[in-house]
C-alpha cells in the first residue's frame, strides 16, 4: 500500500495514471459500441445511401441513381400488395395476441391451485422456435389430415388458398407470441405493489374491479412496450412465410420484409431492396411515433 502511493507520486507515473483514468471507461465500452455501430448504425446509414444508387449483382453501388429505385418500387404493384398484407396481418395479430396473453397472465397470477403449473404451461410457447412451430402448424392446420380442421369440422386449406393463407399465418403467430407477452405481463403484474391491492380489498373491490381499475393502469407501461414490440414484429414478419408459404399462393402472404428479401437474394435487385428497406423504416417509424403520441394519454407512469 505504501509502496503503491510512493510510486504514483512520481510525476511521470502520475501523468500516465491520469491518461489511463481518462481512457479506461472506453475500454469497457468499446466492444459494445463497435458492434452496435457495425451491425446497426453502419447498415442503417449504408442502406439509406445505397437506396439512391444503382447496385450491381454483387451488391456494390456503382452509379448515382437519384430516386430511380424508389420510382421502380412505387410503380410495382407487388409493393402495394405487400403493404396491404403486412398491415392486415399486423391488424389481425396485435390486438388478439395482446388480449389473449393479458387474460392468461391475469388468470395465472390469481391465487389458485395449480397456478405454478399453468405459469410454466403458458410460458412454453416462448421456448418453441418459429421453424418448429411452423412444422407443427403445417400439420395441425392441414385440410385433410390435420386435427384442427377435423375437430372444428371445416376443411380450410389454410396455407394453400390465397383467401386463408394470411389468416393461417396469423393464427400461427398468435399462438407463438403467447409466451413472450405472457412473460412480460406476469413480471409486471408481480410488480404491482401489495399495499395498493390490500387497500382495494378493504374497500371491498372484487377481482374484476381490481383488475380494471388498479392492475391494468399500473401495468400500462408494459402493455405499451408489448404493443410497440408487437407492431414492429407484425410489420417485420417474415420467418413463417419463408418456412410455410414462400409468399404465395398468388402473393397473398408476400409481406414487406419477404419482398425485400426475395428481391435481394433471388432477383439480385439490390437497389429495389434497399429502397424498400428505407420505406419499411418510414412505415414502422410512423406507426411507432403515432403510438408514442397515444402513450401520453393512455399510459400511467407511477
Amino acid at each position: 500500500m505504501q509502496q503503491m502511493s510512493a510510486v504514483s507520486h512520481t510525476p511521470v507515473n502520475k501523468k500516465r495514471q491520469q491518461v489511463f483514468q481518462r481512457i479506461e471507461p472506453f475500454l469497457y465500452l468499446i466492444p459494445c459500441l463497435f458492434f452496435v455501430a457495425l451491425f446497426v448504425y453502419y447498415p442503417f446509414i449504408k442502406t439509406i445511401i445505397n437506396s439512391f444508387f444503382f447496385i450491381n449483382k454483387e451488391g456494390i453501388a456503382h452509379r448515382f441513381a437519384g430516386f430511380t429505385n424508389y420510382i421502380q418500387l412505387f410503380q410495382d404493384k407487388t409493393f402495394y400488395v405487400a403493404v396491404k398484407n403486412s398491415l392486415l396481418y399486423t391488424l389481425m395479430v396485435v390486438p388478439s395476441s395482446l388480449l389473449l396473453s393479458l387474460i392468461l397472465a391475469l388468470i395465472a397470477n390469481k391465487k389458485s391451485m395449480l397456478n405454478k403449473v399453468s405459469t410454466v404451461a403458458f410460458l412454453i410457447p416462448m421456448a418453441v422456435s418459429v421453424s418448429v412451430a411452423a412444422m407443427i402448424f403445417n400439420l395441425l392446420l392441414n385440410p385433410t389430415i390435420g386435427l384442427f380442421d377435423y375437430v372444428a369440422n371445416i376443411s380450410i386449406p389454410w396455407f394453400t388458398d390465397s383467401h386463408y393463407a394470411l389468416g393461417g399465418l396469423a393464427i400461427f403467430n398468435i399462438w407463438l407470441s403467447i409466451g413472450f407477452n405472457f412473460l412480460f405481463f406476469t413480471a409486471a403484474i408481480r410488480n404491482v405493489p401489495k399495499d395498493v391491492i390490500e387497500s382495494a380489498d378493504i374497500a371491498g373491490a372484487n377481482w374484476i374491479q381490481k383488475t380494471i381499475h388498479i392492475v391494468i393502469p399500473l401495468i400500462s407501461p408494459t402493455l405499451f412496450f408489448l404493443f410497440c414490440m408487437a407492431i414492429i414484429g407484425g410489420l417485420m414478419m417474415v420467418s413463417p412465410v419463408l418456412v410455410l408459404t414462400k409468399g404465395g399462393p398468388d402473393l397473398s402472404t408476400t409481406t414487406l420484409v419477404y419482398l425485400m428479401y426475395t428481391q435481394a437474394y433471388q432477383n439480385g435487385n439490390y437497389g429495389y431492396s434497399f429502397a424498400l428497406s428505407v420505406v419499411i423504416f418510414v412505415i414502422v417509424g410512423t406507426l411507432l411515433a403515432l403510438s408514442f403520441k397515444f402513450e401520453n394519454k393512455g399510459v400511467y407512469y407511477g
Binding site: 469497457y28 459500441l33 448504425y41 417474415v238 420484409v257 428497406s277
Partner: protein, 281 residues
C-alpha cells in the same frame, strides 16, 4: 382476525374454479406440442389416415431412428450449441462491461453513448439484414461459425437489463473499494460480477434460448449442409414434393426438448430477469 377468515373463505371457492379454468387453458395452449409429440410416434400410414388420430395405436420409433441416423441432425445440434453458447458468452461479456461503464464510471458524452446504444433497439433489424449480409460476406465469413455469431455479439436490451441491475447496487460499495485501493477492473470482476450473478443467469438463459431458436440469419449466412443450424435443418427434413410429417415431428420434439427443459427448470429466473430489466426510469 375476522378479515383474515373472510378472505380465506372467498379464496376457498375461487381457488378451485380458477385452478380448473387454468388447467383447461393450459391444455389448449399446449395442444399443438402434445399433438406433435403423439404424431412423432405414428407411422406415416397412420398419420395419413382419415379421420386424423390424436393418440398413436402403438409406439413407433421409426421416425426417431430415421431422423437420428438418416440426417445430419447430430451435426446440426452441435452447430447450434456452438453458436448459442459462444455468442451468448460474448454477449454477456460485452453487455456486462458496457453496463459497468454506464453504472460506475464517469466519462465525457456518457448520456449520448448510452442513448446511442439504447436507440439501436428501435431500428428494426430485419430491414438491415441485406446490408449485414453483404458486410459479413465481405469479411469472408460466409458459412463460418463466426459469421453466424458475429451479428449477435452486441445486444442493447441485455446491456440495459444489466445496467438497471447494477444501478441498484449501493454506491457505498464503490467508495469502500476505492478506499481499499481496488482498481476498477478488480472491482468489476471480484465485487460487481458476483453481485450480478442472478441477473447474468437470467440473461444467459434467455439469450441461449433465443439463439438456439434463431432462424432467418443462420439460413442466409450458411449454405453447406454441414454448417446448418438445427432450426434450419429441421425445415429441410421435408421437401416441397414430399412432406415427411412423422420425421419432421420427431425432429421437432428433439429440437424442443432442451428449450422446454430450460423453461421448466428456470421459470423463476426468466421472470425475474424481465422484472430486473423493466423500465423504471
Amino acid at each position: 382476525m375476522k378479515k383474515h377468515n373472510g378472505t380465506m373463505e372467498k379464496k376457498g371457492k375461487s381457488y378451485y374454479i380458477t385452478g380448473i379454468i387454468t388447467i383447461i387453458l393450459a391444455i389448449i395452449i399446449l395442444l399443438p406440442i402434445i399433438y406433435c409429440f403423439f404424431v412423432s410416434f405414428m407411422a406415416e400410414s397412420e398419420i395419413n389416415s382419415y379421420p386424423p388420430k390424436f393418440i398413436p395405436k402403438s409406439l413407433y420409433f421409426g421416425n426417431y431412428i430415421q431422423v437420428l441416423c438418416g440426417t445430419l441432425l447430430g451435426r446440426f445440434s452441435i452447430n447450434s450449441i456452438i453458436l448459442a453458447l459462444f455468442a451468448t458468452v460474448a454477449r454477456i461479456v460485452i453487455a456486462c462491461t458496457s453496463a459497468f461503464a454506464f453504472s460506475f464510471l464517469d466519462f465525457p458524452l456518457k448520456k449520448f453513448f448510452f442513448f446511442l446504444i439504447l436507440a439501436s433497439m428501435v431500428i428494426p433489424g430485419d430491414a438491415l439484414i441485406v446490408t449485414n449480409y453483404l458486410t459479413v460476406t465481405s469479411f469472408n465469413l460466409m458459412d463460418t461459425y463466426l459469421g453466424v455469431m458475429i451479428v449477435y455479439f452486441s445486444d442493447a436490451m441485455y446491456m440495459f437489463m444489466l445496467r438497471q441491475y447494477m444501478k441498484s447496487i449501493p454506491p457505498d460499495f464503490r467508495d469502500a473499494s476505492v478506499m481499499d485501493g481496488c482498481g476498477n477492473f478488480r472491482f468489476f470482476t471480484s465485487i460487481i460480477m458476483p453481485i450480478c450473478k442472478p441477473i447474468t443467469i437470467s440473461v444467459f438463459i434467455s439469450s441461449f434460448v433465443g439463439l438456439w431458436n434463431a432462424y432467418v440469419w443462420p439460413l442466409l449466412i450458411t449454405n453447406t449442409p454441414e454448417m446448418r443450424t438445427i432450426q434450419v435443418g429441421i425445415t429441410m427434413l421435408s421437401t416441397d414434393e414430399n412432406t415427411a410429417f412423422g420425421a419432421t415431428m420427431a425432429g421437432a420434439i428433439i429440437v424442443l426438448i432442451p428449450t422446454i427443459v430450460i423453461f421448466v427448470l428456470f421459470k423463476e429466473k426468466i421472470i425475474s430477469g424481465v422484472t430486473a430489466g423493466s423500465i423504471k426510469g
